[in-house]
């Protein structure tokens, strides 16, 4: 049972990859990529969790109270920004691909076929 958070992370990664492999629409594929990336959020925050601890904000909390790992939270924040910006770039590319190729189905995109 204590493995569940880690397993969810692994599941999200593979599920996202499955979506990328089978997707018939690039916009859909980009969505699947964000699912694969969200596995990293879950893994990082699960690794930094501490049972019975509170959020690392010492507003009303006495100094010295147990808190969860703040470092992984900072990493996840960066990760979320990366995800959003890469998604934006990918969607921008997808939009232009649609204009030039008239389709966003990877099976029909043949410009780079070798």
């Amino acid at each position: 049972m204590t493995l569940l958070p880690y397993l969810v992370a692994g599941w999200l990664f593979l599920a996202g990859c499955y979506g990328l492999v089978t997707s018939r629409n690039l916009v859909h594929a980009v969505g699947c990529l964000t699912i694969a990336q969200s596995s990293t959020y879950v893994l990082l925050l699960a690794v930094g969790y501490r049972s019975g601890a509170t959020a690392p904000v010492f507003g009303d909390l006495p100094v010295g109270a147990p808190v969860v790992d703040p470092v992984v939270q900072a990493l996840t924040l960066t990760d979320i920004v990366v995800s959003a910006t890469v998604t934006a770039l990918l969607l921008a590319l997808t939009l232009q691909i649609h204009k030039r190729h008239g389709t966003v189905d990877p099976d029909e995109l043949r410009a780079l076929r070798n």
Binding site: L4, A15, Y18, N25, G31, V42, Q73, S83, L91, H98
Partner: protein, 78 residues
């Protein structure tokens, strides 16, 4: 490990799977929004309010909105 945590985790796994299995991109934008919300809940349960706030803004509003706008543009013919 609390029941709340288990529920939040399963919700995330389920919502993530639904996003992947969504039949088309416009349906996916909606499920992606739900997935963003589920992640936000999970982050709150994991005592990460900073991350939850980020995820709330990015995962439930900004990214689904960009996807929806892209879908609208790419649905039309050339």
């Amino acid at each position: 490990m609390t029941a709340l945590l288990v529920v939040a985790l399963l919700l995330v796994a389920l919502a993530g799977t639904l996003v992947v299995l969504a039949p088309g991109p416009s349906r996916q934008a909606v499920t992606l929004s739900v997935f963003g919300l589920a992640l936000t809940v999970l982050f709150v349960v994991l005592q990460a309010p900073d991350v939850a706030l980020s995820q709330l803004g990015v995962g439930t509003v900004v990214v689904p909105l960009m996807i929806m706008l892209t879908v609208q543009k790419t649905r039309r013919g050339r």
